[in-house]
């Protein structure tokens, strides 16, 4: 029993937690941004895959990691633009458009990858982001190795959470985005342009998804596999509900989920024989559902979520 608690106190567990959480933080933040403006973006799984591919490919060709991250963001934004055309301008079903984008983006990332990289034994590698020890902070006992010896993308994710929270809650732009998600007609009456706001939010959110995908190939690993996103995008969609559409809680949710995942990997090593490993694999999902049940009661869904806005229509 003490083993269980001992694991929780190791810096290794928390270091692993933030690594596992990073793509989820980007993805959840991106999905949250889209939904706050009133558009569900189920393209996330495919956009993350494409971000993982194009980020890796750009770095492979240029040798520069940040170019890869930028390419992932731009590609994400491009898919976001497509989603916006389909759901905002044309007012199509957001579910169908989003799933379509996931299929399209996943398949095209495989296609582009195959065109660019000839078939070989194992996929080629890039020199991935190395952990960056923050001077001063990384020497702190326990929290130093856990939180302040991460790759730059993890720090970027944490900064973006704060930035998004601040923009949404404290700036006129944030108010405008939220208003568009709650009542686009009222936004229009205020002289705002709901269509432009939704376009912007979807493109920015999708860019974040792309960057989240690129973390997998530029920091967590150093090669691209077409199937490597492995449902992380769908977890982000659930985490948005968990977060009740608030960035800080999205961070909490992503970290909590990642903690369970990191914990189960260690429990397997300790318990091995006593408990079937499948129970541990279920753990993060079961606990997330439980947390969802508790949190979702108080969820305040953006009122105009999934309602297309048509100017002048009542």
């Amino acid at each position: 029993m003490t083993d269980l608690l001992d694991i929780l106190l190791t810096a290794g567990l928390w270091s692993s937690t933030f690594r596992i959480a990073t793509p989820l933080i980007f993805g959840t933040l991106g999905a949250l941004l889209c939904e706050r403006a009133g558009v569900l973006n189920l393209g996330i799984e495919g956009i993350m895959t494409f971000g993982a591919m194009i980020g890796w490919l750009t770095t492979y060709l240029t040798g520069d990691l940040w170019s890869g991250v930028l390419a992932a963001a731009l590609a994400g934004a491009a898919f976001g633009l497509l989603h916006a055309v389909l759901t905002v301008t044309l007012g199509l079903s957001q579910h169908v458009a989003g799933l379509g984008i996931t299929l399209f983006a996943s398949s095209s990332s495989y296609y582009v990858f195959r065109l660019a990289v000839p078939v070989q034994g194992t996929p080629p590698t890039v020199e991935a982001f190395a952990p960056l020890a923050l001077p001063g902070l990384s020497d702190l006992p326990w929290i130093g190795p856990a939180l302040f010896t991460q790759t730059p993308l993890t720090y970027l994710a944490l900064v973006l959470v704060l930035l998004t929270a601040w923009i949404l809650a404290r700036t006129p732009l944030g108010l405008a985005v939220r208003l568009t998600g709650e009542n686009p007609h009222a936004a229009e009456a205020q002289g705002l342009d709901p269509v432009a706001l939704r376009y912007g939010a979807i493109m920015a959110g999708s860019a974040l998804m792309g960057v989240g995908g690129s973390f997998l190939t530029l920091a967590a690993f150093n090669s691209f596999f077409p199937t490597m996103v492995q449902g992380r995008g769908w977890i982000c969609i659930a985490l948005v509900v968990f977060s009740t559409w608030r960035p800080m809680r999205a961070l909490l949710g992503a970290v909590l989920f990642a903690l369970f995942d990191a914990y189960q990997l260690r429990l397997q090593a300790v318990f091995g024989k006593a408990v079937p490993y499948q129970l541990f694999l279920m753990l993060p999902y079961v606990l997330s559902i439980l947390a969802l049940v508790v949190m979702a009661r108080r969820a305040r869904v953006p009122q105009a979520l999934m309602k297309p806005y048509r100017r002048g229509e009542r």
Binding site: Q120, L265, A269
Partner: protein, 325 residues
């Protein structure tokens, strides 16, 4: 020259006709094999099949065509397509389509099948194989045993299916032969294609004291590399990818299985049998590949003795398909 619609149509029609006609002609000339891969051919397991067939094609023994990334819903269609084109042998994986694949094989009695499968052969023409490289893993375990300081050995696997289990158990048996007090850790990641997760599982085992990792999954060696410990690869040779880290690989070779099926088909012998025994070391189906300068010198001798005994058939590595714990 502007491409006119009619010219374009004539061109594509001619190309299609040529494409449809050509296989039938070639099939008579040379033995034609179609590979249907459910994953991209970079995937370690598929790369073994793909590489062996490419090699056979380069040597002029077969003609090789392939499709990759074929999902379960498309798999049957791809099988039929190649059968209709008149290939002699279909090589692939039936794991996701066990009953459908057998049904299709029944409809094309003139085509031979050599399929990775969790189940046995069927009919006259549906041959199956398992992926056995447990003997090589056993030898890698013998090399690894004296290299550990902590006496704790980790292993990261995908899902505890019999083939994965026997591989990890083979490695453990090899370690235990040299070092009976060894402690073993196991981590299953619950999926076949998540290298970042395999890396996290490896790091978790290193945190728990392991200083040798057996990587059934790619990603495991990244954890070892990051923490400066040693690792073992499986199926393919990972040493070029992780030169300071991976000192031994439990290689698996598909050529003996492929050539056995090709020979059967050419001789008119039914291919509906189990080709798994061709995975054995004495058939050249698996073997250890290691970097001698990374291994303690006195560990190599005993390992080579066992290797020779396995090849001579005087020693048999135990096949243990129970879930490692």
């Amino acid at each position: 020259m502007r491409l006119r619609r009619r010219t374009f149509l004539q061109g594509t029609a001619a190309a299609t006709a040529a494409g449809l006609y050509a296989p039938a002609v070639l099939a008579q000339a040379k033995f034609k094999v179609a590979g249907i891969h459910a994953s991209p051919v970079e995937n370690a397991w598929n790369s073994r099949l793909h590489g062996a067939m490419q090699e056979a094609a380069a040597e002029g023994k077969i003609d090789y065509v392939f499709s990759e990334g074929v999902s379960g819903t498309d798999y049957g269609r791809a099988m039929r397509d190649y059968c209709e084109q008149g290939v002699d042998l279909v090589v692939g994986e039936a794991y996701a389509v066990e009953s459908e694949a057998r049904e299709i094989a029944g409809q094309y009695p003139d085509v031979g099948f050599l399929m990775g499968s969790s189940s046995g052969p069927a009919g006259e023409n549906f041959g199956t194989f398992g992926t056995w490289n447990h003997e090589a893993a056993y030898l890698a375990g013998m090399l690894a045993a004296p290299m550990s300081q902590s006496g704790v050995f980790g292993a990261v696997g995908a899902i505890p299916i019999p083939e994965v289990n026997m591989l990890i158990n083979g490695f453990r048996a090899g370690v235990t032969r040299v070092r009976p007090d060894a402690k073993h850790l196991i981590g299953f990641i619950g999926t076949f294609f998540d290298p970042p997760k395999a890396r996290e599982a490896g790091l978790a085992q290193i945190d728990a004291g392991a200083d040798i990792l057996f990587g059934e999954r790619i990603g495991t060696a990244d954890a070892a590399k990051e923490r400066g410990i040693k690792a073992i690869g499986s199926l393919i040779d990972y040493t070029p990818r992780y030169p300071e880290t991976v000192f031994a690989n439990a290689m698996w070779y598909f050529s003996p299985l492929l050539m056995a099926a090709v020979a059967d088909k050419q001789a008119g012998t039914p291919t509906g049998r189990d080709y798994t025994p061709y995975c054995l070391m004495k058939e050249g189906g698996n073997d250890i590949e290691f970097a001698p300068d990374m291994v303690p010198e006195d560990a190599i001798g005993p390992m080579e003795e066992v290797r020779a005994a396995i090849k001579a058939g005087t020693f048999e590595v135990p096949v243990d398909m129970s879930e490692p714990t």
